[in-house]
C-alpha cells in the first residue's frame, strides 16, 4: 500500500511523520538536529529516500544535511555559500544601500530528475545550485543583476523562498523573493526576467506597479499546467495564465487577502488553497478561527474549510513553506502552524485532524507520496 512521508522543519529541529495511504495513524520520528532552526527539508523526486535539510543557527551558522534513507540518518555536506564576485548592495528597510550578506538557506529544491542536483534559495536573496549532492554550492549570479540594488527585505528577511522547476521544460525555473518579486529563466539560470506585471503594492512601494520590489510570499503551480501560476502576495492572491507575463487578482470573497502559503490540489489544477491572515501586522487568522480557504475555480470564489481546525481563540500563523499536498486520491493537504501543530486532511480539505500538536513553531512542511 502506498504511503506518505511528511517532512517538518521547525524552530528547534526536524521531524519526519509517516503514514500509510489511509493517513489515519502516524509515526513521528525526531527531533533531528534538535535545537537548530530547520527552515526547510525536502526529498528528491528522482530518489525518494534522498532528503536534504537546511540546518541553521544564530550561533553556528549554516549546515546542510543529506539523508540517503528517508530521513532516518543524516550526514552533513557542504555549507559554503559564497556570492559570485563583488555582491554589491540591496536596499535596507529604510531605503539605504546595504551590502549583500549570506544569512541562511530558506528553501532547498531538489532536481526533478537528478538526486545530486539541488537548488538553494538563500537570504540575502540569491539562488545557488549543487550538482554533486551538496558538497559544493555555486551561485547563479545573473539573477541579482535584475535590479538587485532595488530589492529589499520583508519582515522575515530578504529571502529567496520559492523555487519552481517546470516538469515539461528542464531549462525553465521560476523563483520568488520577499521583497523583490517573481523572476523566471528559460535557459537554466543563465539569464532572468522579472515577472511582476499586474502586481500592485500601493502601500509598500513608491511606484505601486514597479518592475521589482513586490513582497511575493509564495507561488505555486500544478505540474500538468506549468503556464498557470498562483501567488499569495503580501496582500492579494494572484494568478497568471501566461507563465508570469501578467498577473490578475483572484482574491474574490476571501475574508482577507493577506497570507503566506498557497498550494494546488494534486489532481485538480484549478483547486487551490490559501490560509488568510488578518493583516501584515497581525499575523494571526481573522476572528481567532483557523480557516483554510479552497477555491475550485482557480480563484475568485472561495469556501472556508473549518472541520477539525480550531474555531476559537486561535492566534497562530501558517508560514509560507508550511503547506503541502500529497498525490494520493483523495488528495491530502497538510498545514503546519507557528503553534506547533501539523494538521492533515485526507479528503482534500473537507475535514482536518492534527498529526502532532506540540512541536516547536513549524517553519516548513513537505510531503512525499511513497509507492
Amino acid at each position: 500500500m502506498s504511503g506518505v512521508r511528511v517532512s517538518v522543519g521547525t524552530r528547534k529541529g526536524a521531524f519526519v511523520l509517516t503514514s500509510d495511504g489511509k493517513r489515519e495513524r502516524w509515526d513521528v520520528n525526531g527531533p533531528h538536529f534538535g535545537g537548530w532552526e530547520i527552515y526547510h527539508l525536502k526529498g528528491s523526486p528522482a530518489d525518494p529516500n534522498r532528503l536534504y535539510a537546511s540546518q541553521s543557527s544564530g550561533w553556528f551558522g549554516q549546515v546542510i544535511q543529506r539523508s540517503n534513507d528517508g530521513g532516518k540518518t543524516w550526514e552533513p555536506v557542504g555549507n559554503q555559500f559564497v556570492y559570485d564576485g563583488v555582491p554589491g548592495t540591496h536596499q535596507w528597510y529604510d531605503g539605504t544601500p546595504r551590502p549583500w550578506e549570506f544569512k541562511r538557506v530558506w528553501h532547498l529544491e531538489p532536481s526533478l530528475t537528478d538526486p545530486d542536483t539541488v537548488y538553494a534559495g538563500v537570504e540575502d536573496a540569491a539562488l545557488f545550485r549543487t550538482i554533486d549532492g551538496g558538497q559544493k554550492w555555486q551561485e547563479l549570479p545573473s539573477l541579482r543583476d535584475i535590479k538587485g540594488h532595488l530589492w529589499q527585505p520583508g519582515a522575515g528577511g530578504m529571502c529567496l523562498h520559492t523555487i519552481m522547476l517546470d516538469p515539461g521544460n528542464p531549462t525553465r525555473i521560476f523563483i520568488a523573493i520577499s521583497a523583490a518579486g517573481v523572476f523566471g529563466t528559460d535557459d537554466a539560470g543563465k539569464t532572468w526576467r522579472p515577472m511582476n506585471r499586474g502586481l500592485k503594492s500601493q502601500y509598500e512601494l513608491p511606484d505601486p506597479d514597479a518592475e521589482v520590489g513586490h513582497c511575493v510570499h509564495r507561488i505555486a503551480m500544478h505540474p500538468s499546467r506549468p503556464g498557470v501560476l498562483f501567488m499569495q502576495k503580501h496582500w492579494d492572491v494572484m494568478r497568471t495564465d501566461d507563465a508570469g507575463e501578467s498577473w490578475q487578482e483572484v482574491s474574490g470573497n476571501l475574508p482577507t487577502d493577506f497570507g503566506f502559503p498557497i498550494d494546488v490540489h494534486a489532481h485538480e489544477p484549478d483547486t487551490i488553497y490559501v490560509v488568510p491572515i488578518k493583516s501584515d501586522s497581525e499575523h494571526y487568522p481573522p476572528d481567532g478561527k483557523l480557516r483554510v480557504y479552497r477555491s475550485r475555480t482557480g480563484g475568485h470564489e472561495w469556501e472556508a474549510l473549518t472541520k477539525g481546525l480550531p474555531q476559537s481563540h486561535c492566534y497562530l500563523n501558517v508560514l509560507r513553506d508550511a503547506m503541502a499536498v500529497d498525490a494520493l486520491d483523495p488528495c491530502g493537504v497538510y498545514v503546519g502552524t507557528t503553534g506547533g501543530q501539523v494538521y492533515a486532511s485526507a479528503d482534500a480539505g473537507n475535514t482536518w485532524a492534527p498529526i502532532v500538536r506540540d512541536l516547536p513553531a513549524v517553519l516548513s512542511v513537505e510531503v512525499q507520496t511513497l509507492p
Binding site: 535545537g35 537548530w36 543557527s57 544564530g58 550561533w59 553556528f60 551558522g61 549554516q62 549546515v63 552533513p76 555549507n79 559554503q80 559564497v82
Partner: protein, 98 residues
Amino acid sequence: MIRVVLPAHLRTLAHVDGEVTLDVGGQVTQRSVLDALEARYPMLRGTIRDQVTQQRRAFVRVFACEQDLSHEPPDAPLPDAVATGAEPLLIVGAMAGG
C-alpha cells in the same frame, strides 16, 4: 596534545563526546588550533569562523584559563597551559539564549 571543549551542538554535529584532543604543529594559536580542528572534523567548517574571511562568528566566544580570548588576534600564542594540554581551549556559544 591540545584539548578543545566544543559547545554541545557542535559536539553533536561532529559526532564527538567530551573533549577533543588535537595534534597541532608549530605555534599553538587560535588559528592553528581551529585549522587542526576543522581538518579533523570538516563538518565544523563555517560554524566557528567564516570559511572565507576566517572571522570568528559573532555569537561564538573563545575562553581559556579563565580568560576571554575572543578578541585576541588569531595568530597570538595561546597560554602555555593550553599549549601543554594542562588546560582546555573552550569554544563557547554566546550567552544569548536567555
